[in-house]
Symmetry: C2
Subunit: 190 residues, 2 copies
């Protein structure tokens, strides 16, 4: 999406260690116009896929899921993060390794809100190594729901997450794919 | 708001210890129609207040903030929670006591996104003891921004948070105020 690439070039800040800061418009302050365009674009891409539920993970994905759900006219569910490993049987869970914060955490979704009758679009702000997304995919699989695909705001194409998911046959649509950001130079996949 | 009261009566579940579960439409699964109505109602209530920024706290407030921001046509910012007490000077911080999870945590907002030129509407899903909200109010005060008020989905009117904020002269608008929920009987403030 041209708008996302332009916005990253204008307001994104590249930091050491392949970190891209987009906190002025995506994951701390949220730009309502950009969010609307994102939701609309995910709807354009997945409107023929029978989606009846949007799934994301707290926290940064929630806004994107909420706006996207407005376009699809369906509920959005956000997976909760917990350090607790022992949870009752009423939730689907998956373990996720965290590289940002170290260690691992559990993501969970109540069984009330996902089941075999659902067709799910997963959305999130970032895709890099893909661990959080793999956790969400596992939860969809556990629930027996169908997976329409994943809609991502920014994919770090030089990390393996997107490739791994696509190799599994999962449709991944990223609004901007960064192929390079070394030395502050940003190059997008065309 | 009649819609919110009806929804709480229909889908809310009262648990022991004055806990109201609204996870099927508000803070785990999010209903897009209800969210839209909430955003529209906050806009109706505060449209004359010069709001140019919506502020909330992760995680459950983010969706409400995002939809509300669509109506105001202004950015939404979510305060981040951290267990870390030592943060650099580039953020406003406030300490918040947590009764749900025990202990206390720090909420923080980057100084880049809030300043004297701003007029802020704080939104959140719940208001009970009001500790998280008091933390957000403190951050607005630190920033020198003006506070238009607080827009809350559900207020537990039998707890002191709402009263305390209003006694400080802060405008608090709650879409549903619960005055009683003992023995599973829900009574709203008229």
């Amino acid at each position: 999406m041209v708008l996302m690439e332009e916005r990253i070039r204008r307001d994104g800040v590249v930091k050491e260690g392949d970190i891209l800061k987009v906190d002025s418009f995506l994951n701390h302050q949220m730009d309502p116009v950009l969010y609307r365009e994102m939701g609309q674009e995910f709807y354009r891409l997945f409107s023929e896929s029978g989606v009846n539920k949007i799934l994301t993970i707290e926290a940064s994905g929630i806004g994107i899921a909420c706006i996207t759900a407005q376009f699809f006219g369906c509920p959005a569910v956000f997976a909760k993060k917990s350090r607790t490993k022992n949870l009752d049987g009423e939730v689907y869970t998956a373990q996720v390794e965290s590289f940002t914060h170290g260690g691992s955490y559990t993501v969970m979704v109540s069984k009330k809100f996902l089941g075999p009758g659902d067709r799910v679009l997963i959305v999130d702000d970032f895709l890099a190594k893909g661990n959080a997304l793999a956790g969400l995919v596992s939860i969809v699989e556990q629930s027996g729901a169908g997976l329409a695909g994943c809609g991502i705001a920014i994919e770090k194409g030089f990390q393996e997450g997107g490739r791994r998911l696509r190799e599994r046959g999962i449709r991944v649509e990223s609004l901007a794919i960064l192929d390079q950001m070394e030395g502050g130079i940003i190059r997008f996949r065309s």
